[in-house]
Point group: C2
Chain length 408, copies 2
């Protein structure tokens, strides 16, 4: 493969995670090292992803990052330090104008390397840009680096960002189980967890079982139909065994007819449809039916930004996959997405890449072997898969008792 | 003061915190050391506070705690390892039977030292037990050790447990501010924080200002009347300055007429009064009035049990105050509550005690000098007060990537 000299640009897209900045750090580390060797030119960051690129909101990252401290601070900063966007590019065959526009910007800034860190929609952008630039003969290397707390990307053992979200959830559930155990009166606590289509994060709520032996009584994933009567029956069984029942439920569970449990069918005094959280709907139904004290705990935004309890494994891998994307691009790879491959025995991760079309717009669900036959819990095999992803504690700087975050 | 030989009992009461077990550890450390010297006899733990004492559910703690590891694990375990209760003792003048019953148990187990770790209601128990035992001539030492995340106990600079809850809130708010900053579209995020009557925890949401300079735009405490029009005006002003507005609001804010903001006045299709969180009510009102994207984030149970992000200062002081309570009791103090006194300059804490009647059933609000004249923020002085309470990071053991908790 012939060497390609030019500038590089990196961007972040989609919902934030606790590890997307670690991947950004990896890309910047790799690209600046290459720039130092004279293999590439400048390293730009696009503000707010492809949206900022179109508005030429570019920052020269080589002028910002000039000490190891900058990188390590960035690696422990949640969300997207360059800003993010939800812009989806049109079909280049139907609307080539946007693409001509973008290629003009590439030419203006002599950009030959494009790194995009994001989820499914971002991989779609990578695919379209890669195909379009090839079709018009503009030589460049377009690389996608995945991130999503949902772990639902096809083709990779797991996604950067998932391990940290899983660690936050497992830790919080473990603490809440302690909290629930203090009283002797019967009570059910329902923890509601993110993941509309895939139950990976909800499955992580069961991890405390490997640490002290106590986990939630039941775990309900969106991969299985939710049945209200079976749910009541589960809870009655659990309450016979002990007074403090804790369950984990995905926000995305649905009934057999496809309706989300969160569509509770109620309307307010003005006839507006009421939207409640899944946990709240279940807590209310349970109070009416079983008559015990219930409580819904919704794990909110912190699921995707609790960098203070990030998984050291996740952060390390997220940096590594960013660096590797640069390495691959320099070797001539383009139109690819980076993936993790897990060793058959133990936990050893190899980083590789696959053509983006093999990955984009597919959802990876929790497989059958990870869910118990009864459909209301996860298996040992599932916990074995999850465990290494949350191992290790991050170390970061503090100021006034709070984590130091890096601002670009 | 004459020496008093006998057994000791310790219990926990009221809502859990991340530090109440640290205080329990301090009491057990102090009492077992005294037992070793032959100054006192056995050290019992009462299960579920005074409720378990009445049912003679006592555990011999000397048989459980036999290594330093046990103590340090307990100090990093959230909630109440002995279990808790919400039982309030009656007035001994009106109903002396309960007290006779309890004194009979004291006699049966030769209990002469009673340590009760709890909030306002627990201090009421301490006061009544102290007065009653004195009145019937049963010599014993009754000591209260405060705990509450709410920081609203009278007579002490701050309460054990508050610093850890404040650190969790400040850290989470800081991370959420990062999360909110990634998009360019106008949006308001409302974080709802515990504290029905006192705004201490909500004030802690402003601490990120000391660490990077960015905090929530406004902070609404229950110490000030909440006015919806001023609120809309505040938000409009903030949205002119930057697109991503984050505010912190206490769950306990009320309108001028005394109604809680969370009483939104809506009824559902069945005529039932709708109960929403304060954050949700404000998010909906704002959406209707200002028309921007809004989001409510309720910090849930984790506020009182997120031991993984506890304040090292809080945990250290919580252990120390437990030990000191034993020391004071051995010196003859009884019917007292332990307190923290802060040095005039810098941050140095002296532990002392005051008669329980000076403290019980009073609420300490955030003082005027800690709230800006506009009533929608906190002052530098407030942050100066809060800062040392969240300093320092706890170190604890992990298993399978999760904190190890101690189970009694």
């Amino acid at each position: 493969m012939e060497k390609l000299y030019g500038n590089a640009v990196v961007g972040q897209s989609g919902g934030p995670t606790a590890a997307i900045n670690a991947t950004l750090s990896g890309v910047i580390r790799g690209a600046l090292a290459a720039a130092e060797k004279g293999v590439i030119g400048k390293v730009y960051g696009m503000r707010n992803g492809i949206e900022g690129l179109c508005e030429e909101r570019l920052v020269d990252l080589g002028r910002i990052f000039n000490s190891e401290q900058h990188f390590t601070d960035l690696e422990h900063t949640p969300a997207a330090a360059l800003g993010s966007c939800r812009k989806k590019l049109p079909d280049p065959n139907e609307n080539p104008l946007s693409f001509e526009f973008i290629v003009d910007i590439f030419k203006k800034y002599d950009i030959r390397y494009f790194f995009y860190i994001g989820g499914n929609d971002s991989m779609d952008t990578v695919q379209k840009l890669s195909e379009y630039t090839k079709s018009v003969g503009y030589e460049m290397r377009v690389m996608g680096v995945p991130k999503t707390i949902d772990n639902d990307l096809w083709g990779t053992d797991h996604t950067p960002g998932f391990g940290s979200a899983a660690k936050y959830i497992a830790t919080s559930v473990k603490e809440i189980i302690c909290d629930c155990a203090v009283y002797t009166t019967k009570a059910v606590t329902i923890t509601e967890i993110m993941g509309r289509d895939a139950g990976w994060l909800t499955a992580a709520a069961a991890l405390p079982r490997l640490s002290g032996g106590i986990g939630p009584d039941y775990v309900y994933l969106p991969e299985r139909e939710f049945d209200m009567n079976s749910f009541f029956s589960d809870i009655r069984t659990a309450l016979k065994a002990h007074p403090n029942v804790v369950i984990a439920v995905s926000e995305g569970v649905r009934f057999a007819d496809g309706r989300y449990v969160s569509e509770n069918g109620k309307v307010d005094a003005f006839g507006h449809k009421q939207l409640s959280g899944t946990g709240t709907v279940l807590a209310e139904a349970l109070r009416d039916e079983v008559g015990c004290k219930t409580r819904a705990v919704e794990f909110n935004t912190s699921q995707r930004c609790a960098a203070h309890i990030a998984s050291a494994t996740d952060i390390r891998e997220s940096v590594a996959v960013g660096k590797k994307a640069v390495e691959f691009a320099l070797r001539g790879v383009s139109g690819h997405v980076m993936i993790f491959i897990r060793s058959k025995v133990g936990y050893k991760i190899t980083i590789d890449s696959v053509p983006v079309e093999e990955v984009a717009n597919k959802v990876r669900s929790v497989p059958d072997e990870f869910i118990t036959p009864s459909g209301n819990n996860v298996t040992e095999k599932c916990l074995d898969y999850l465990r290494p992803l949350i191992e290790g504690e991050v170390k970061f700087r503090h100021e006034a008792g709070l984590p130091v975050h890096f601002k670009i």
